[in-house]
Amino acid sequence: MQVSANNSLLVLDGVSKAWPGVKALQDVRLELFPGEIHALIGENGAGKSTLLKILFGVHQADTGTLHIEGKPVKLAGPGEAIANGISMVHQELSLVPQLNSIQNIVLGRERSVAGFIDWADARKQALVALNRLNFTADPNVSVRRLSIGQQQLVELARALAYDAKVIIMDEPTASLSGHESEKLFEILKDLRSSGHAIVYVSHRLAEVFTLADRATVLRDGKLIGTVLRGKELTEKSLVRMMVGRGLDDHTTLPHTPPGEIMLQVDGLSRHNDFQNVSFDVRRGEIVGMAGMIGAGRTEVARCIAGADVMDAGKIHVRGKQQKFKSPADSVKAGIAFLTEDRKHQGLALRMSLAKNITLPAPPTWLSFINRRKQNDSAKSALEKASSKVNVSRRAGTLSGGNQQKVVLAKWLLTKSEIFIFDEPTRGIDVGAKAEIYALMRELTDQGAAILMISSEMPELLRMSDRIVVMREGKKVAEMKRAEASEELVVAWATGANS
C-alpha cells in the first residue's frame, strides 16, 4: 500500500461538528487509499457515527474539507455521496423486507420503459453484483426470509451496483455468527484487492487485527491517532488509545465454590427451535452458553424465562418443578431475563429510569404508586448496579452501558436469584464492558446463579465457570473453565469435530 498524499482516494480534513452543548467532533482527519480496509474505532460516543454520517452526507460538518481523488467536494445529502462513489452498509440493515434481493438492489434506480421497469436489465445488474459476493441464496425470495448475513450481502451488492469506491460499514459483524463473519471478511479482502476502500467500524478488536490495514482511533470527538498494521496495532495499544488507560484482564474467578443447583433444565424441546436440551446452573456460578447464531440459545433462554412455551421437558428452580405459562410465572420464581435487544425488550424508552426499574413491582399503597419510594428504591438499585445517572431521565437517552445497568437494576429489585444474560455486552464499549463483568461476578459471589449467552469468545472464556455449547438446536458439549479453549468451543459450535 502506498502512502502518499497524491494517490489518496478520499481525504476528510479538519472536520468539526458541534451539537447544542456537545462537541461531537473536533478537527478530525481521515484519509483513505484505494485498496485498504480502514478500521474506525473508539468507545460509544467517541464520534464514530457522526464521522460516518458526515462522510455519507447525512450530516454536514461545521468546518472542514472533503477531497475525493484530489477534487474538493461538498456533500449535501446521501444522494450526493452515492453519486460521488460513497456507499454505506448500515448497522440496522436498510432493505425493504417484502421485496426480493434484485428489487432491493435496483431500488430507486430502476431503468424503465414508459413507466414499466426493465426487469431483465435489473436482474442482469443485480446478479453481476451478487455473483461477485458469492451470494448463494435464491435472489427471487423476499429478503426477510434471508439470514442476516445474506441480507448484508444484498446491501453490499447494492453498494457495488452503485459503483461505490468507498464502502462504509457500521458494525457489520454485530449480528453475524462467527462463520458468517469469516465469509464476510473474505469478501471484504476480495473487494480490497479490487481497489475499493472500506471504512469499517467494529467493537470487536480481534476482528480489527485480522482485517484492517490501518486503524483510526477517536476518543471524545478527537482524533487520537491512525496506526498502521504491524507493531503498533496491538490490543493493548488500541485499548489504551480508546479509553486513555490500560484495561486489566477481564478474567474473574468465583470467590466461593458453586453451591446447590438453582436451575435445572431436563430434555427441554420446542418444535423447530431446539430439542432435548439439558443442563444446570449452580449457586455462585456463571454458565456460559456458546453457539452460532441460530443454534437455539436465545430460544432456550426464552422458554426458561416463560416468554415462549416449551413443548416438552422439565424446569426445576431450586429443586421445585415449575411450569411457566408466561413471564409473570418465571419472574415470580425469581428468574431475571436480560434480553439481547434492550431497546425493544428490556426498556420502555419513553419512560423514566425510575419507572423502568420498578416496572415488575412498583411500590404501591392500595394500588396508588408511591412516587417518592419509587424514586428512592430505583436510585438505590441503580447505585448497586454502579450507575449514578439521574433516575428521572428517560431510558432512551442513555448509552448502551448505562441501559444495561438500568435493566440489571430492575432485576436486582425483584430479588431475583437466577439471571439469564443474553449477549450482556453487545453494543457496549470497552470501558463499560469491564464494569458489567465485575457486576456479574459480584452477583454470583452474593449467591446468584447466572446463565450467560454470548457470541464473543473472549467473553465466554473469561467469564464462564462452565461452558455449554449448542449447535443446530442441540446441546453438543459441556466443559469446565479449565478444559475450555477458543479452538475447542468453536470446533463444537461449528461441528468441525463431529
Binding site: 456537545v22 416468554a307 415470580k332 428490556g346 426498556l347 424508552l349 449514578k388 431521565r393
Partner: protein, 332 residues
C-alpha cells in the same frame, strides 16, 4: 465510568441550554397539553374578536355542556390509545347502552337499576372487545371495526329500529339538571377527568397501560399480565361510553339507536389533538378534554356566526389537521 460521565455531561448541557427553541420544547416535555390549550385560547379569542357577544359566561357554560359527551368519549378513547390500540366501536357502544338504559326504564325498572344495567352492558361490550383482541391477536382496529357493526346492530334490534320515547322525566331532571348554575353533565365529565387523570398518573393500572403501549414486550417480560391490563382498557372505555350514553338520553329525553354514528371521529380527534400517540405509550386526559372543548368551541362559534353546517364540518376538519400538525412540530 466514562459512560456515566459522558451521559452526565449531556445531561448538564441539556439543562444549561437556554435558547428559545429548547425552552419551548421543555414546556412541551413537562406539559404536553400546552399546545392544545394554546389552540383553544386562540380560537376563543378569535371568535370573541369577531363578535364580542361570543365572550359570555352563559355561552362558555353552554360550550362546556356541549363538549361534555365528546370529552368523556375522548378520555375513553385515550385510555385505549395509550395501550397502542383504538376503539372504533365506541360510538356504537354509546348507541347500544343508550337503548339498554331506555328499554329498561320503558319496561318499568327503577332508574338506578336501568343505570346499572347500562353500565353493565357497557362493561360487557368492552370485555367482548378486550377478550377478542387479547386472545386472538387480531389488531384492535379490525376487531373494533367488526364490533362497531355488532353493537350498532344489537341496538337497532333491541329498539326494533325505533327511537325510544316516553322515559320517566325524573331521569332527565337528574342527569341533565343543574347544581347551582353548573349543568350536571359538566360535573360528571370533570369527575371522570379527575378519576382517570389520577388513574393514569398515580396508579399501577395507569403505569402498566403506558408501559404496555410504549413497549409491550418489555412489559410482558417484566411479568406484567399484558392481556388482563389491555382488556381492562377496553372495559373502561365502553363503560365510559355508557355514561356518555345516559347523559345523551337524559338531554334528549329519548334514545335513538343511531345516536353513535357521529361520535367516533370527535373522540379520536380530541384524544390525538390532546397529545395521545396512536403508536401507544403516550396520552393525556386533560389534553383530550381540551380537544373536545376545541371542537365544541368551533361548532358553537361557527353557528354563532351563522356559518352553514356544511362549511362548519369543513372548517372543523381543517382545524383538527392544523392542531395535529402543531403537535407533530413539537416533537422535533
Amino acid at each position: 465510568m466514562t459512560n456515566t460521565a459522558q451521559d452526565e455531561v449531556i445531561d448538564q448541557t441539556r439543562l444549561q441550554t437556554t435558547s428559545k427553541a429548547s425552552r419551548f420544547k421543555r414546556i412541551f416535555a413537562e406539559w404536553p397539553e400546552f399546545g392544545i390549550l394554546a389552540a383553544l385560547v386562540v380560537t376563543v379569542l378569535c371568535f370573541s374578536l369577531i363578535d364580542p357577544a361570543f365572550f359570555s359566561g352563559y355561552n362558555f357554560i353552554n360550550i362546556c355542556l356541549q363538549a361534555s359527551v365528546t370529552a368523556i368519549l375522548a378520555m375513553a378513547q385515550t385510555t385505549v390509545i395509550i395501550t397502542a390500540g383504538i376503539d372504533l366501536s365506541i360510538g356504537s357502544a354509546v348507541a347500544l347502552t343508550a337503548i339498554v338504559s331506555a328499554m329498561l326504564m320503558k319496561v318499568g325498572m327503577p332508574i338506578p337499576i336501568a343505570m346499572l344495567g347500562a353500565l353493565a352492558a357497557g362493561a360487557l361490550a368492552g370485555l367482548f372487545n378486550g377478550l377478542i383482541i387479547t386472545t386472538t391477536g387480531i389488531t384492535p382496529f379490525v376487531v373494533t371495526l367488526g364490533t362497531m357493526s355488532v353493537f350498532s346492530g344489537l341496538a337497532l334490534i333491541i329498539a326494533n329500529g325505533q327511537t325510544v320515547y316516553g322515559l320517566p322525566p325524573m331521569f332527565s331532571d337528574v342527569l341533565a339538571g343543574k347544581i347551582g348554575f353548573v349543568p350536571i353533565p359538566i360535573i360528571i365529565a370533570l369527575a371522570v377527568l379527575t378519576i382517570l387523570s389520577i388513574m393514569l398518573r398515580s396508579t399501577k393500572l395507569g403505569e402498566y397501560l403506558i408501559a404496555i403501549g410504549g413497549a409491550r414486550e418489555v412489559a410482558r417480560l417484566a411479568g406484567i399480565k399484558v392481556a388482563i391490563y389491555t382488556a381492562a382498557a377496553y372495559v373502561i372505555a365502553s363503560t365510559l361510553a355508557s355514561i356518555a350514553a345516559m347523559i345523551t338520553v337524559a338531554r334528549l329525553g329519548a334514545a335513538d339507536p343511531i345516536i353513535g354514528a357521529d361520535l367516533l371521529l370527535p373522540s379520536v380527534a380530541a384524544s390525538v389533538m390532546g397529545g395521545a400517540d396512536l403508536m401507544g405509550g403516550k396520552g393525556s386526559m386533560l389534553g383530550a378534554v381540551f380537544g373536545a372543548l376545541l371542537i365544541a368551541t368551533l361548532q358553537a362559534g361557527l353557528t354563532f356566526l351563522n356559518v352553514q353546517a356544511f362549511y362548519q364540518q369543513l372548517a372543523i376538519g381543517i382545524v383538527i389537521i392544523l392542531a395535529l400538525l402543531f403537535n407533530r412540530l413539537q416533537e422535533y
